[in-house]
């Protein structure tokens, strides 16, 4: 274990040199190749130990120590965390390309064309590395506009998988569930612009058929988290197309119940506007909010997707209508109006 820690420390130091030092101007092809091999080593360390919380803690301690030393040595030093280890190659590349001391000859190697038949370069892994990266990204973009067959894009699906995989790893370590929740919070931001994206990722994660017990428990954890986070559910309700929401409700009972709860909360925050002749979200209601017709549509879709929910739900809505005074006239009880619309 000591050897591993020493190696990780050396690799992190190497990263710092790559980013900040003018020593890179002396790097030849062999040095470059070895640097990338070190990066590969770090990725390997992560893969082996990321599910082992004890070892992870030890490595993190080492990283803290190394970060402290390097902070003193280099101004603008960027700390390296445990979660940076699997992306070491990317970090090394970014460090090098941003270092103005990197000689143009080295850049040429990195951007050279990777020719599968050429045996001229001994250091295959670094030659044309950047060219290959650009090709990958371009290929993704080229195929992008044509993923129209499914509502959830390939990106969202892959991101959903990434999310679930990491969540599964965190849960299997038996660590504090708050750590997993923190992970979900940081991965799925709900601020302006990012909210819709996060909703798509969650959808993809939940709609992927679960093929293992681990995956099922991850999905379950995610659903529990959703139930607590009304904000997320509200975003999902307002941004996702109803067909998708139907699928989600049909696939997961927890989602169905949580979503039903959200709809009810939305409904309870509605006020009747005499001037509009319609139910509208109260100004105090938390954004985002739905219009009344939209909300009715969501209720209908939910009942269509989950017939088993329908009867109990209708009873519940009826009960709420009675509590409101059991009026039949429009505008007096949101529950009554919803019921009458849904029953049509």
């Amino acid at each position: 274990m000591e050897a591993v820690l020493k190696n990780v420390a050396s690799a992190v130091e190497l990263l710092a040199v790559a980013a900040h030092s003018d020593a890179v101007s002396q790097w030849d092809e062999q040095t470059l190749s070895r640097a990338f091999q070190w990066a590969g080593y770090c990725e390997h360390v992560y893969t082996r130990f990321h599910t082992n919380s004890a070892i992870r803690r030890v490595v993190e301690k080492q990283l803290q120590h190394t970060n402290a030393t390097l902070r003193d040595a280099f101004a603008d030093y960027n700390e390296v965390s445990f979660m940076d280890l699997p992306r070491c190659e990317h970090l090394l590349l970014r460090a090098l390309l941003n270092n103005p001391q990197l000689p143009i000859s080295t850049i040429r190697i990195l951007f050279g064309l990777k020719n599968g038949t050429s045996r001229r370069y001994h250091y295959q892994e670094v030659t044309g590395l950047c060219s290959h990266l650009i090709q990958c990204k371009s290929a993704c973009e080229v195929l992008c506009p044509f993923s129209g067959l499914s509502t959830v894009s390939a990106e969202a699906e892959v991101q959903g998988e990434m999310l679930m995989k990491r969540l599964g790893a965190l849960l299997s370590q038996g660590s504090d569930p708050s750590q997993a929740e923190h992970f979900l919070h940081s991965s799925l931001p709900l601020c302006e612009g990012a909210a819709r994206h996060s909703c798509l990722v969650i959808t993809a994660a939940l709609l992927t058929a679960s093929d293992s017990a681990g995956q099922t428990s991850s999905q379950s954890f995610l659903l529990d988290w959703l139930q607590k986070e009304h904000g997320v559910l509200q975003h999902m309700g307002s941004t996702l197309p109803s067909a998708v929401l139907k699928d989600l409700a049909g696939a997961h009972r927890k989602f169905r119940d949580a979503y039903f709860g959200t709809l009810k909360k939305w409904a309870s925050e509605m006020e009747y506007s005499l001037s509009d002749g319609e139910w509208v979200p109260a100004c105090t209601a938390a954004a985002p909010a739905l219009s009344f017709p939209k909300m009715v549509e969501h209720f209908s879709d939910l009942f269509d997707a989950c017939p088993s929910l329908r009867r109990n739900a209708e009873d519940e809505l009826l009960h709420l209508k009675i509590l409101d005074g059991d009026f039949d006239a429009r505008g007096l009880s949101v529950w009554g109006d919803i019921l009458s619309e849904v029953k049509k």
Binding site: A139, L149, E155
Partner: protein, 558 residues
């Protein structure tokens, strides 16, 4: 830059027509228009101009290399920076190897090792920034957050997205995309298993194959054997289904990219040859197939030459079953040695082949030794691949003054009839000699009318006889060689040819022989006298005329 030391004529050759302001403006407009990628119109326009873009970038690169300094280049090509800057970010330009490579080379070429003014220093900074952003930045901030929190590096992320995308694109969409030289070799072996069958089929379909970037094709073939086989069978079908062996066979074969693919991957060449072997066994005497194999091998050797120096060891990898001692001698082209050496070379070849064939016969005995048969077959297969030597033998038979040519005849007999079932080779050789005698007489007689007492036996020889083994194809090619290389005036040789070929009905086969001979002559690997070319052309047109007048179902047609 060392290119400055090149002679001026060479410089002008590489740069082609100079880039003028009009051209620069054209590509500037294109680069701006293409920034609005997304509409089907834009995509169509891009695909239409991709090859033109390659030419343009090559010219730019040549100009950058030829001009001494970046400052000079920027003065000569004013919007260059903007054009390159925009094209870099267009995924349709950067997805294909060729354009991406040229673009990067242009950028790197503009970098000044020793910047001498502010412009060059600024250019250097800009180039570094662009390259860094191209390789490390991501447009999608939300995806970046997830990548960071889940510990997935960008390369892995993009590869996984790509895998997913390839699983369900619709066929119509694919056809549009494939015109963008989409490279499949981005994805590795394990991935190709997951590729949707539709995607692979579309990539492999004949009408698209010629338009797709060769690296993509090679990758598909390399990872999917059935598709390689399909491509080879398509080629064979093309070559053998047309009325007569196509005259632009070599061009067609090159365009399929198959020879190039085989030169890059030994395993593919082995597979292609396996297909050729089995076709040969099924279609005995099909000269069109012989043509394809010969031409394919020639194209393959040319491609191989480009990739690596030819050594005996490297050749052995591509021809593992062929007898090692014969490899280099047979693969050497006649054009690669002086004409005077041909006869000796052929004598040596024939002697070796005879030895090999006799060994097989010795081992035969009661039980047929399969190893012996195998060796002879492989030797013969190599000979089919290197038919140029058989053609030289035919030519020498006619043109050499000296009489003893029994070994040349043996070679030709072996080529057309490799198997020695019931020891028929001796009988076939006798027949060949007889045919040769008749032909010799006919071609040396200068008096009119033609000696019919020699014509008729020839025609008889050319017809298939069920009772005893016969060699119509051998006789036919002897006749064709005679017609081409003999000293008789054109009119007479054509007349002999016409009479005999017509009576025997072997027009298709005659055309095959003529076409493959013409291919070799075009290479200049034969004494390329103009008279020979003229003679061949005359004979070809004769055959075409005859074919037009004759019923397509003559007895000897395939």
């Amino acid at each position: 830059m060392t290119e400055l030391q090149q002679p001026l004529s060479q410089l002008q050759e590489t740069s082609g027509p100079l880039l003028d302001a009009q051209k620069m403006q054209f590509w500037m407009d294109k680069a701006v228009a293409w920034d609005q990628v997304g509409s089907a119109q834009t995509l169509k326009d891009i695909s239409r101009h991709l090859r033109g873009l390659t030419d343009f970038l090559q010219q730019v690169l040549a100009q950058i290399s030829n001009t001494g300094s970046t400052a000079e280049t920027m003065k000569e090509l004013p919007c260059l920076g903007q054009i390159l800057g925009r094209l870099c970010w267009n995924p349709y330009v950067t997805v294909g190897d060729t354009n991406r490579g040229l673009l990067l080379q242009c950028l790197l070429g503009l970098y000044s090792e020793n910047p001498s003014n502010a412009l060059e220093r600024k250019a250097n900074q800009w180039i570094r920034k662009v390259l860094c952003r191209l390789a490390t930045e991501d447009d999608d901030p939300a995806a970046q957050i997830l990548m960071k929190s889940t510990g997935v590096p960008p390369k892995e992320y993009h590869l996984r997205v790509l895998k997913k995308r390839c699983l369900f694109p619709s066929l119509t969409v694919l056809k549009l995309l494939l015109s963008f030289a989409l490279c499949c070799n981005v994805l590795g072996q394990s991935f190709t298993d997951a590729l949707s069958e539709d995607f692979l089929d579309a990539l492999n379909s004949t009408d698209l194959r010629l338009a797709v970037d060769e690296t993509a094709l090679v990758s598909v073939w390399y990872h999917s054997l059935p598709r390689l086989e399909e491509a080879v069978l398509d080629l064979l079908e093309f070559a053998t289904s047309t009325g007569s062996a196509p005259q632009n066979l070599e061009q067609h074969i090159s365009k399929t990219q198959l020879p190039k693919a085989c030169a890059q991957h030994c395993s593919m060449f082995l597979v292609v040859n396996d297909i050729f072997r089995s076709i040969l066994k099924q279609a005995e005497g099909n000269l069109a197939v012989h043509s394809v194999i010969q031409t394919f091998t020639r194209c393959f050797l040319k491609e191989l030459e480009e990739l690596q120096p030819r050594t005996a060891a490297s050749l052995k990898a591509f021809f593992p079953q062929s007898p090692t001692s014969l490899l280099v001698p047979l693969l050497t082209l006649p054009s690669e040695m002086p004409q005077e050496a041909w006869k000796n070379h052929l004598e040596w070849l024939t002697a070796s082949l005879q030895r090999l064939a006799e060994q097989e016969e010795e081992e035969e005995g009661d039980s047929q030794s399969s190893r012996g048969h195998h060796n002879v077959f492989e030797t013969w297969f190599l000979l089919v691949q290197c038919s140029h030597w058989v053609q030289v033998a035919g030519e020498l038979l006619v043109t050499s003054e000296a009489e003893p040519c029994s070994n040349l005849l043996w070679l030709m007999t072996f080529y057309y009839h490799p198997t020695n079932r019931w020891h028929c080779r001796a009988a076939l050789l006798e027949e060949a000699k007889e045919a040769w005698r008749h032909l010799r007489t006919l071609s040396s007689a200068s008096a009119r009318p033609l000696p019919t007492d020699h014509l008729q036996p020839l025609i008889t020889l050319l017809s298939l006889k069920p009772q005893r083994p016969s060699a119509p194809l051998l006789t036919l090619s002897l006749m064709v060689y005679c017609a081409i290389f003999c000293q008789l005036p054109n009119s007479q040789s054509v007349e002999i040819f016409q009479t005999v070929a017509h009576a025997a009905g072997l027009l298709h086969e005659a055309a095959c022989v003529l076409n493959s001979l013409q291919h070799r002559l075009n290479e200049g690997s034969c004494s390329s006298r103009d008279t020979v070319h003229v003679r061949i052309k005359k004979l070809q047109s004769t055959v075409t005329h005859m074919q037009a007048g004759v019923n397509p179902h003559t007895p000897h047609n395939r």
